[in-house]
Every structure is written in structure tokens, then in C-alpha cells.
């Protein structure tokens, strides 16, 4: 599904270069729910941005559905994003001049989909994310959780190959956060969609099926959920994170 090889990315001028990603290899299978974790400045958001084609890389290759992203120009990249990728951002990034419904339908507007099919898709996703009753409201009339669910609906309505989520719960309280994640996981299981999510919160990460830990621009560890319960998985994540940050618990 997604295959990244030897990714390098740096910022700054030639003299004062700051290396953020220092050679990352990552394979993501179809239907996986991957969480990328790491401390601030570890490069996790940068990784998400390059994986999702929002940012360019210096070196390496990224293939999604056997298409090489690094060889595309901006125009084709935009087209690719529009048709095959979905995005959920921490700040929701909803257009405040559009209603919830208009926001959600936006990705379909360019696909020349018939109004009937689009309407059905909207009804389904809005029902699943429980935002049907606020369909005609504007984003500023919604709670944070509702806004983020709208954002999720927009990211998933066109059934993208991969959904990228950057700290989707970062601006939500814990109740709204777990609510959102429940919804996303249900959608993920029903549609067998692929999700890549960046987070620093172990609880959030525990909803995933695999966690990738980043440290100093490299992959430090990976961890599969397997068949264990979420609580156990969370404990494992916490342990790894503790090792990662250099803090050792007495067990």
C-alpha cells in the first residue's frame, strides 16, 4: 500500500542545516491503522507531511499504490491527494464559510460524481459519525468534537486509499477524543481503510493496530497490537515510551 524507503528531510539554509528525518523505511499494509509516536521535535509531523505529499523530501522514495510520489510534479501531486488521500488536522481546518454538509461534500465536488451518489455517501458517513443533525450548521456553531468529526467525514467520504491524521485529538478534551477515536475505529473496521495517525498521546495511540516510535529522525521501535486487549496494548506503549524518553520505571 504505502512503501517509504530511506527518507531524508532537512530544513534551513545550506550552511545552517537542520536534519529532521535521517533515513526512514516504512511499509504500511492495506487496512492497517498505524500510529506514529515520538517526542516534540522528533520529526513525526514532518514524516506525516512527506508521506502525505504535503511536503517534499530531499532523498528517498515513497510509493503509494505503486505510484512514485517523488516523481510527480505539484499538479499531479495535488490531483493524487484529491483522489486518493484523506486528511484530518489538529485544527480541524474546516472552511468557516461553508456548512458542515458543504465541507464534507467538498472532496466529491471535483469527481463529477452524480448528486444522488454523493448524497448517499454523505448520508452514510454523516450517520456513522453522528453529525447528520448538524449538517446545515456552520463550523463555528459546533463543539470541537463535532468539528473534528466533520473533518473526519470530509477525509473519508471519497474512500481514499490512505487517511492521514495529524494529532486529530490534540484540541479535544478526553471525552470528545475517545468518542472521535471510537468512531474512526469503527469506520476503519467496516471499510477496511488505511489510516496513518501522528500523536504524542499513548491513549490515542492505543486505538491503532501498530505503533511506530520515532526518535531523532529515525525509527526507534515498532509495536503490533496483535490480539491483546487495548488496555494491555496501552501498557506496552507506555513502557516503550518510557524507555524512549529515558525514564525508567521501577517494576
Amino acid at each position: 500500500m504505502l512503501r517509504a524507503n530511506n527518507i531524508h528531510k532537512s530544513y534551513g539554509s545550506r550552511k545552517n542545516k537542520h536534519y529532521v528525518l535521517k533515513g526512514i523505511d516504512l511499509d504500511i499494509q492495506s487496512g492497517e491503522f498505524v500510529a506514529i509516536m515520538g517526542a516534540s521535535g522528533s520529526g513525526k509531523t514532518t514524516l506525516l507531511n512527506v508521506l502525505s505529499s504535503i511536503d517534499r523530501l530531499d532523498e528517498g522514495s515513497i510509493r503509494i499504490n505503486d505510484e512514485e510520489l517523488t516523481e510527480m510534479n505539484d499538479q499531479t501531486l495535488a490531483e493524487f491527494r484529491k483522489n486518493h488521500l484523506g486528511f484530518i488536522f489538529q485544527e480541524y481546518y474546516l472552511l468557516d464559510t461553508l456548512t458542515v454538509k458543504e465541507n464534507i461534500l467538498l472532496p466529491l465536488s471535483v469527481q463529477h460524481m452524480s448528486k444522488k451518489v454523493a448524497e448517499e455517501a454523505f448520508q452514510r458517513i454523516a450517520t456513522e459519525l453522528s453529525i447528520l443533525d448538524v449538517a446545515y450548521k456552520y463550523p463555528n456553531e459546533l463543539s470541537g468534537g463535532q468539528q473534528q468529526r466533520t473533518s473526519a467525514a470530509r477525509a473519508m467520504i471519497h474512500e481514499p486509499a490512505i487517511v492521514f491524521a495529524d494529532e486529530p485529538t490534540g484540541a479535544l478534551d478526553s471525552k470528545a477524543a475517545s468518542d472521535l477515536l471510537q468512531h474512526i475505529r469503527v469506520l476503519h473496521e467496516q471499510n477496511n481503510s488505511t489510516i496513518v495517525m501522528v500523536t504524542h498521546d499513548p491513549v490515542v495511540a492505543s486505538y491503532s493496530s501498530r505503533v511506530v516510535f520515532i526518535k531523532d529522525g529515525r525509527i526507534y521501535a515498532q509495536m503490533y497490537k496483535g490480539t491483546e486487549a487495548r488496555e494491555q496494548y496501552l501498557t506496552d506503549i507506555l513502557k516503550t515510551q518510557a524507555v524512549l524518553s529515558g525514564v525508567h520505571y521501577e517494576t
Binding site: D74, Q75, L95, Y138
Partner: protein, 649 residues
């Protein structure tokens, strides 16, 4: 850091923000100074015995101050709002509002001072060019020597000092009203209103369309005879008021309702093009209604004034022919002889037309379209004293007459049917005559006909009228002699002889009714000056309203940057966004322009005939030029948007 350092650092670092404001100021000063320089220019004094040139310019300059004030207030408002976060931070670190205000005043002083000086310098260079254009326009050959006018300098300084204080007051009010929290939120200047249709917007929408409609309807009826005397003035006032209010309500209500209906019909399925046109405009239309109204009305004013001035300039030649049908006119045999002898001596060939003139009372109501002549009370005093001449072609029967067309405004009040009859009032012994034609060419100077139709009759009838004319009233001009030169090249010379012989006896108020050359130059000068000044004002209105819209669009797209970023991250291409932006700018610039054009069409058609002979050609030329110049600003806005879109990700 001291205040002074802070100011300089601010100006230096925020030069991009300041640029718009400084540009607006310099530009206004340059325009104003140019205009006032014209007013005080000595070389214009040559015109003063013909038209009150400087007073026309003075009225213009008052208009100019008004528009410049609006313009600068808007620019300042944008400017301060853009910096509201900065102002908030100053307060946060402990500066008092008073200190900040003082800082703003000092900063403004710096900006005003340098802009005014720069503007005056540019204006001076520009005014020289302008005077040269003016003189070629009104066909005067003088050497344009323009001095730096101290009076103009002082007046400009005074006006802009006044504006400076107004702006400072505005800033003071702004600071006083805003809390720190407000200042931080003010970064996005758009006061977004919920675009959903409420009862009051629907009422406004309907009222707006109704007001404009009634205004237009009234304007078509202005001189049709439905209003008389003061009624015309009241009607004019009503038209202006209805159109102005209607335009405002139209922007506040009608457009929003219209767009909202379109949007509702889409039921959420909006395209990316709609996102950046329809929905964005909907959100802002209410808060920008006033601004759009001002711009529309300014456009209306500019187009109307320029059209009317150009209509009069355009018809100058025809008007001259109407006012005096021959190159020269004299009224006695002796004068004619004196002139023709002189012409012969200089070997200038000519033709002479001897036309005996009489007059009689006529009742012409039967030949008029009913209802059109209510303004001139024909029903109470049906008998009109009209000039009569005999038919030289011999094609008229004894009971037939030809009338010449009435001039100017009278043409709207005396509207003739295709055929009809008029009555010669003959002391109880009335005679009915058949009107066979209303001819366009004038046969007598307006001085004689006074704008009324001239009656052309059969020889026999003319003799009869002439023999009884003593019974009516004294005939001031029993004879009219028109002299035409065979070649135009001698015109100037002949005119000088005409003057030298003292035949231009009507020098003064009737100047020119004896010589076409005189009236043409007088006419061209007054019309030319008027056209020039209105053209200049029109251009000013155009530039300022274009700038205001451009600034607004710049500001808007800066605010929209994050929206561009969102949809670009979602994968929409620059080209797709641009499609929406183009549509938006088309609406933003196009709607005020379109309404302005329609408004001015209705105003112009209501009264253009007072000023000239043809409406369409000059009006369309003005409109096309205006539209083209105006489009430059929408083009600039799109360029700006393009850059913002490109930089948004």
C-alpha cells in the same frame, strides 16, 4: 527603546503594510494638488470672460476633498486593523492607550509629512502635463508656462492637515473602543455575519429592487410632461434618493438572498469554484454593503458626469449649426453690403441668403402629442408668437406649412405628431393650416426663433401675414441675411473682418449668434473645459474607487490565506482555486460596475437632451473607457490572489 526608535523600526519593518497606505496618501495629494494648481493657474484666466473656469474647478475640488477623505479613512481603517495585534501587544507589555495613541499620531505625522511632500512634487509635474492636455482639448494655443503655485501649495497643506486630524480622531476612537482581547481577535477584519436569510433581509431585498425600479421608472418620466415646475426638481431628488437607497438595500439584501437561493438549491453539493466565489461573497456581502454602495454611486456619478459633458462636447458642432444656420448673419442691407464689399475686396467668394422674417400667433396644440406640453401651459395660453418665413422652394401649397424643430429642452415639451394641423390666429378669423413636415435644419438663428419652431409658409400667405404683422407686436427683425463662405479656409480672415467692421453688434450675452466661428470657439471652450474637468473628476473617482476595491480584495485574500491552505492540502490545485477566485473577482468588481452603468444610463437618458444632440455614441464611449480602466483593478486583484494562493502552501 524610545518611542522615536520604535516608530522608525515599525515603519521600516512593516513597510509592506504601510505601502498601501502611503500609496493612497501620496496619490490623493498628487491628485488634489494638480487640481488646485489648475484652479490658481494664471493662464486659465484667459478663459474667465467666457466661463467661470475657476469656480467650476472649485466645485470640483470640493468633490475631490470629499472622495479623498473617504478613500483615506478606508485605507487607514484597513491599516490600523491589520496592525491591531501589534497594538494589542503594546498594551500587553504595559503601554497605556494614551501612549499608543501618541505613538500612532507621531507615526502618522511622519507618513503624512513625507507623503504630502512627495504627492505635491508628483502633482506639480503632473499638472503641467494636464494643462497642456486641457489647452489642446479646448483648442487654445498658448504657451503653457506653469509656475509652482504658492496658493495651491498652502491649500493642499491645509486640506491634508484637516484630513490628518480626522484620521487621528478615528484612530483615537478605535483605540478607545477596543479591549486587548478585541485587538487580538481583530486580525481577521471581516465581521462575518450569518448569511442565512432572515425576514429583515428578505424585506431589504425586496425593498432594494423596488426602490431601484421605481427610481428608474421615474427617471424615464422626468421630462415627459408628468411633472411640471418644481415637480421636476422634486422628481429629480426622488430619483437620486431612490437609486441611492435602493443600491444600498440591493447590496445588503438582494444579492445575498439571490446567492443564498442559488446555494440552497445546490443542497450542500458545492463545487470548489463555488467555495471561493459564492460562499465567500455571501459571508461578506452584508458587512461590505456600505462600501460597495459608495463605490457604485461614485461610479454612477463619474459615468454620468463624464457622459453628459462628453455628450455636449460631442454635439458642439451640430449645436452651433442649430444656433446659427449660416457662417455669418446680419440684419440690415447696409451691414450686409459693408461686409460683402469687404469680402469681395479680399477676393473671398460667398453666397448670400436674404430671408424676410415676420411673425404671427399660432395655435399648434393639434399637431402635438397630447400630454407632452403640460409643462408650458399651452392650454391656458394656446397662442404662440412664432417667426414666419416664406417657402423658397415653392413646393408648399397655400394651406400647407413646414415647421422647424424646436431646440434643446423645448424639443421634449413640444413633441410633434407625424402629421397634423396648426391654426393661424387671425383676430377671430382663424385659419387652419396643414403641417406637412417638421424639418431638422434650422433656418434662423436662435436669437430670432428663441428656440421655438419657425413656420415656413407659402408666398401668398407670407405676404398676408406680413401685411398684418403690425397688428400683433413690433417686429424687431424684419430681415435676416445669412452669408456663407464658399471656402472654409477664409473663415478666420472673414471673421476678423466681421469684427473689424463692428458687425458683431451682440457682443456680450448674445456673442456668437452672428458668427459661427465665434460661437464655435466659445462653445468648444466652455464644453471642452467642462468635459475636461468632469473627465478629470471621473478619472479620480475611478482611481479611488478602484483602489478601495483593490485594497479590500488584498485584505480579503490575506485573510483567506488559511482557507487556500486547507483546500490545497486537501489536494485542490492552484488552477482550480483560481477559477473560483476569478468568478469572485468578477462578481466583486462586476456587480458594482454593472449597477453603476445601469444607474448612469437611466440618469443620462432622463435629461441628456438638454446638453446635446446625441446620447448613444458619447455615452457608450465613456462607458467602455470606464469599464476598461476599471478592469485593470480587478486584474491586479486577481494577480494578488494568485500570489497569495501560490504562497499559501
Amino acid at each position: 527603546m524610545k518611542h522615536k526608535q520604535l516608530i522608525f523600526k515599525n515603519v521600516k519593518r512593516n513597510i509592506r503594510h504601510y505601502f498601501v497606505y502611503i500609496f493612497a496618501l501620496t496619490f490623493s495629494v498628487a491628485l488634489y494638488f494638480t487640481f488646485v494648481t489648475l484652479q490658481y493657474d494664471v493662464s486659465l484666466e484667459a478663459l474667465n470672460d467666457l466661463v467661470e473656469a475657476s469656480s467650476v474647478i472649485q466645485v470640483g475640488s470640493i468633490f475631490l476633498v470629499f472622495i479623498v477623505l473617504i478613500f483615506l479613512m478606508y485605507a487607514n481603517n484597513l491599516f490600523v486593523r491589520r496592525r491591531s495585534k501589534e497594538l494589542g501587544i503594546y498594551q500587553l507589555v504595559g503601554m497605556t492607550k494614551k501612549q499608543i495613541f501618541r505613538l500612532l499620531v507621531k507615526e502618522n505625522m511622519l507618513i503624512f509629512g513625507s507623503s504630502v511632500l512627495a504627492g505635491i512634487f508628483i502633482g506639480f509635474a503632473f499638472s503641467k502635463l494636464l494643462v497642456m492636455i486641457l489647452f489642446t482639448f479646448i483648442q487654445i494655443e498658448t504657451i503653457t508656462s506653469l509656475h509652482f503655485s504658492m496658493e495651491a501649495f498652502i491649500q493642499t497643506l491645509l486640506v491634508f492637515t484637516g484630513i490628518f486630524f480626522v484620521i487621528c480622531m478615528m484612530n483615537h476612537l478605535f483605540l478607545k473602543r477596543q479591549s486587548i482581547l478585541h485587538l487580538f481577535q481583530k486580525m481577521s477584519t471581516n465581521e462575518q455575519k450569518d448569511p442565512r436569510i432572515t425576514v429583515s433581509t428578505s424585506i431589504q431585498a425586496v425593498l432594494g429592487v423596488a426602490c431601484i425600479g421605481i427610481g428608474y421608472f421615474l427617471s424615464t418620466k422626468l421630462f415627459s410632461g408628468d411633472f411640471s415646475g418644481y415637480g421636476i426638481f422634486y422628481a429629480m431628488f426622488a430619483i437620486v434618493a431612490l437609486i441611492s437607497v435602493g443600491t444600498y438595500l440591493f447590496f445588503r439584501g438582494s444579492i445575498g438572498v439571490l446567492l443564498q437561493l442559488i446555494r440552497k438549491q445546490k443542497d450542500g453539493h458545492v463545487s470548489i469554484t463555488n467555495v471561493f466565489s459564492l460562499t465567500t461573497i455571501l459571508f461578506r456581502i452584508k458587512s461590505s454593503a456600505l462600501l460597495l454602495t459608495i463605490i457604485t454611486l461614485l461610479s454612477t456619478l463619474a459615468i454620468t458626469l463624464t457622459s453628459i459633458a462628453y455628450i455636449s462636447y460631442h454635439s458642439a458642432e451640430e449645436k452651433v449649426k442649430e444656433m446659427i444656420p449660416h457662417d455669418f448673419s446680419v440684419f440690415t442691407d447696409e451691414d450686409a453690403e459693408q461686409f460683402t464689399n469687404a469680402l469681395t475686396k479680399q477676393h473671398i467668394s460667398y453666397t448670400t441668403h436674404y430671408i424676410p422674417v415676420s411673425h404671427a400667433f399660432f395655435d399648434i396644440r393639434e399637431a402635438l402629442v397630447p400630454g407632452t406640453y403640460d409643462n408650458i401651459d399651452l392650454n391656458e395660453h394656446p397662442e404662440l408668437l412664432l417667426k414666419v418665413i416664406e417657402d423658397s422652394s415653392g413646393k408648399l401649397a397655400e394651406d400647407e406649412v413646414i415647421l422647424t424643430k424646436p431646440e434643446d429642452l423645448l424639443e421634449q415639451m413640444l413633441v410633434f405628431k407625424d402629421s397634423g394641423q396648426i391654426t393661424l390666429c387671425n383676430k377671430g378669423n382663424d385659419e387652419d393650416l396643414v403641417l406637412v413636415e417638421v424639418q431638422k435644419e434650422s433656418v434662423l438663428p436662435s436669437r430670432l426663433s428663441e428656440g421655438f419652431p419657425v413656420v415656413i409658409v407659402h408666398e401668398a400667405l407670407f405676404d398676408h401675414i406680413q401685411s398684418e404683422e403690425a397688428l400683433t407686436t413690433e417686429n424687431e427683425f424684419p430681415l435676416y441675411i445669412g452669408i456663407d463662405l464658399k471656402r472654409n479656409s477664409h473663415m478666420e480672415e472673414a471673421n476678423n473682418m466681421f469684427h473689424a467692421l463692428g458687425l458683431n453688434k451682440w457682443k456680450g450675452i448674445w456673442t456668437g449668434f452672428e458668427s459661427q466661428v465665434d460661437i464655435r470657439s466659445a462653445h468648444l471652450q466652455s464644453m471642452g473645459l467642462l468635459t475636461f474637468i468632469t473627465g478629470f473628476l471621473g478619472l479620480t473617482f475611478l482611481l479611488t474607487s478602484g483602489c478601495i476595491l483593490y485594497f479590500r480584495q488584498m485584505n480579503e485574500s490575506d485573510e483567506e490565506k488559511n482557507r487556500f491552505e486547507i483546500v490545497r492540502k486537501l489536494g485542490f490545485t492552484e488552477a482550480e482555486l483560481l477559477k473560483g477566485i476569478r468568478l469572485k473577482q468578477l462578481m466583486n468588481f462586476g456587480i458594482p460596475l454593472l449597477i453603476g452603468l445601469i444607474n448612469s444610463y437611466f440618469v443620462v437618458q432622463s435629461s441628456w437632451f438638454i446638453f446635446g444632440k446625441e446620447m448613444w455614441t458619447p455615452m457608450v464611449i465613456v462607458m467602455v473607457v470606464y469599464t476598461m480602466l476599471y478592469s485593470i483593478f480587478s486584474f491586479l486583484s486577481i494577480q494578488y490572489d494568485k500570489r497569495v494562493i501560490r504562497d499559501s502552501m
